[in-house]
Amino acid sequence: MGKILCPTRGGEGSHRTQEAAIAMAKERGDDLVFLYVVELDFLNKTERAVRPDVVAQEMTRMGEFLLSMAQERAQKQGVEASYILREGEVQAEIKAAAVEEGATLVLLGQSEEDDPTCKFEPEKLFKFAEEIEAETGIEARVAC
């Protein structure tokens, strides 16, 4: 039995990827782990004082909330899913989580919206999948 790691931002735009991961886990009988990465780079956009620790805590709670929703969605379809949260640079954390969690497949997906700010624009997404495979030896797929 393998383990699918599905990095997600949790919002509506990520539902398609989550659904694909759930379907794949069900079909293969694999474990499913959702991953949310707390990244605070947007704090650089302000010249105002903020407490990164407090913001990180809030973002973690929000991430947990969004991942719990994904978990419930999987549960409703008969798939037991777990989730993990990490803090740092998104791409590095995905690779690290894949290795640490012993994932056999990383399922990436792009936002349903045409989102230029998304970490995973189409070309970058495929390139990133190749990067994961090359660096970790773990299979990486893109849900389109």
Binding site: T8, R9, G10, G11, E12, G13, S14, V38, E39, D41, F42, L43, N44, K45, T46, E47, R48, A49, V50, R51, V54, V55, E58, M59, R61, M62, E64, F65, L66, S68, M69, E72, S111, E113, D115, T117, C118
Partner: protein, 575 residues
């Protein structure tokens, strides 16, 4: 026995004297500044006194006044004009046959005054001559162009996010100072300002007020008060999205008025997003109205936005003045915004579906609880006292910066905060941004760009105060949508200061309130218009909800036009 009292918290020793010293320093600085004479005291020696102004009637400080006697090239004495433009020359070498004063200052044409026979006779009797006010004419130098380009470049770099705001401001300060020091020996016209002059432009009232509020907010934000209020709004609304939005807008606006609107949004957005998901509505329909309300609410008090802090310090507008003159206008603008938002998102608010499981609702409840009730009680009490001091402190000439520092120190002691953690709360990057920004603004003031703009605006509006107000509010709103409103407001302060002196009826400081309204409300028009907009978009994007420039513009631009119009009407009625 220890040298000074300490208290221990989590193993960290806190020297109380550090804070006491800091407070004393601030108090002493202000006292010292009050006591220092603006002009040189008169002596018994014969002499010449005068006042230097620029074309706008603003005092010219740091001008060299050289005294030449009997046709000698070498100056027998050199004095510098003071902050109020005054200078006083004591003459020790009398009698003499000729006397002239050569007045020079970078970025101005030099002037010479020569004493007539009557003047000389008077001086030889030991008298002092009071010269008529001397107006120095501006001169456009190479330094003018360099300072102007640096300022514009800094605004562009910040707007395009090519560098961090602080880095951009520091780069600007480095350029103007570097060019002044390195360029001057090559070509005197390259001089912009020296380091001492640059420091004179740094407003330490602003720095200390911002620093004090950082500590206060740093303590309050960790208590969970923002999340709790948001959750209470959810409970009170009982699933009615329109009511939820109204309550959240009021709460956000109020929090932004007394705290910082970036912090408010950083802490309100995650819990609001969860609430929106609980109601089954698009989070954008709840969060975007919140950020608009936050930007509006901030201008109702002196401490609500950095632009108000700048304006309050420069124009000597107190906390109470803002409350009386702006808060009612803010309430009206807020009401207009609420109506607009309810119409704009009417479809989304009808689509409430609920649908969260009991487990998720419980998680939401957990996320919306107060995490540090004891700290909140203590810090809340101190904060309430602080607000009272902000309001009534002016009766005892207590400046807001001192209130903020006193409140911050008292709060730290009362809650027994970990000093190492609290010092991390002070964002030195932000303080450096302000210091560097003040230096760059000082540079464009020194070279005459600000005077040029002030004269241009004055020519345009003539003696018409209403026209000037409309221009400042609407131009401010327009520009704040595309450039950072903090440097914009900082650069506009001397311009508005000049207009306030020059226009009949402007002494009520209405134009400063106009600048506050324009620069803050204009930030609502575009995504990049204000820092709260950008951090909100940042959090939303992390949750998979993109706020595009166009999405924001569709809501923000009409909202800005409506709220600025309402606020303008208020200012016209009030003044």
């Amino acid at each position: 026995m220890p040298e000074h009292r300490r208290f221990e918290q989590k193993g960290v020793k806190v020297p109380c004297s550090l804070f006491a010293g800091l407070v004393l320093f601030v108090l002493a600085s202000h006292l010292f500044r009050q006591l220092l004479p603006q002009s040189v005291a008169a002596s018994d020696l014969p002499g010449v006194v005068g006042w230097l102004t620029d074309a706008q009637g603003e005092p010219v400080r740091n001008a060299d006044v050289e005294v030449h006697t009997d046709g000698r090239e070498e100056a027998v004495a050199v004095v510098e004009s003071q902050g109020d433009g005054s200078f006083a020359v004591d003459l020790t070498e009398v009698p003499f046959a000729e006397l002239s004063l050569e007045i020079s200052r970078p970025h101005f044409h030099s002037q010479t005054w020569t004493a007539g026979e009557e003047d000389l006779a008077w001086l030889q009797q030991g008298g002092t001559i009071r010269l008529p006010d001397i107006t120095l004419e501006r001169r456009v130098t190479l330094g003018f162009w360099i300072a102007t380009l640096t300022f514009v470049g800094m605004l562009v770099i910040i707007a395009l996010e090519k560098l961090h705001n602080t880095m951009a401001a520091l780069l600007g300060a480095a350029i103007v100072l570097g060019v002044s020091f390195v360029g001057r020996p090559l070509n005197p016209d390259l001089f912009i300002l020296d380091f001492e002059q640059a420091l004179q432009y740094v407003d330490f009232d602003v720095i200390f007020l911002v620093m004090g509020m950082m500590i206060v907010i740093g303590i309050l934000e960790a208590t969970g008060i923002f999340q709790w209020t948001a959750y209470q709004a959810y409970r009170l609304s009982r699933g009615r999205a329109w009511l939820l939005v109204i309550i959240l807008m009021v709460l956000t606006s109020a929090a932004s008025a007394v705290l910082d609107n970036v912090t408010t949004m950083l802490l309100m957005v995650p819990i609001t997003l969860e609430i929106a998901l609980a109601l089954g509505i698009n989070p954008l329909a709840v969060i975007l109205p919140e950020v608009l309300a936050s930007n509006i609410g901030g201008i109702s008090t002196l401490i609500g936005t950095p632009t108000n802090i700048l304006i309050g310090s420069y124009a000597d507008i107190s906390f109470g003045d803002f409350l009386i003159n702006l808060t009612p206008g803010v309430v009206l603008a807020q009401a207009a915004l609420t109506l607009f938002v309810l119409v704009f998102f009417r479809r989304q608010y009808r689509e409430v579906s609920g649908g969260l499981s009991p487990a998720m609702l419980e998680r939401l409840r957990q996320n919306g609880r107060i995490t540090q009730p004891k700290t909140l009680a203590k810090a809340g009490a101190v904060f309430a006292l602080m607000l009272l001091l902000f309001i009534f402190g002016e009766q005892i000439h207590l400046v807001p910066a001192v209130t903020a520092i006193l409140g911050a120190v008292f709060m730290l002691l009362v809650v027994g905060a970990d000093i190492q953690e609290m010092l991390k709360v002070v964002d030195w990057t932000t303080l450096m941004f302000f210091i560097a920004l003040f230096m760059v603004i000082g540079a464009i003031q020194e070279v005459g760009l600000v005077s040029l703009i002030a004269a241009g605006v004055k020519d345009l509006v003539g003696e018409n105060l209403t026209l000037a107000l409309l221009m400042i509010v609407w131009a401010g709103a327009l520009l704040s949508g595309v450039i950072d409103n903090i440097p914009f407001a900082a650069a506009m302060l001397p311009v508005v200061g000049y207009l306030t002196k020059a226009l009949p009826g402007a002494s009520s400081k209405v134009l400063f309130y106009g600048l506050s309204v324009g620069s803050a409300l204009g930030g609502n028009s575009t995504l990049i218009g204000s820092a709260p907009n950008m951090v909100t978009a940042g959090i939303m994007e992390r949750a998979g909800y993109r706020v595009s420039y166009i999405t924001f513009l569709k809501l923000g631009l009409p909202a800005t036009i409506i709220t600025v119009a309402v606020a303008t009407i208020w200012l016209l009625i009030r003044f």
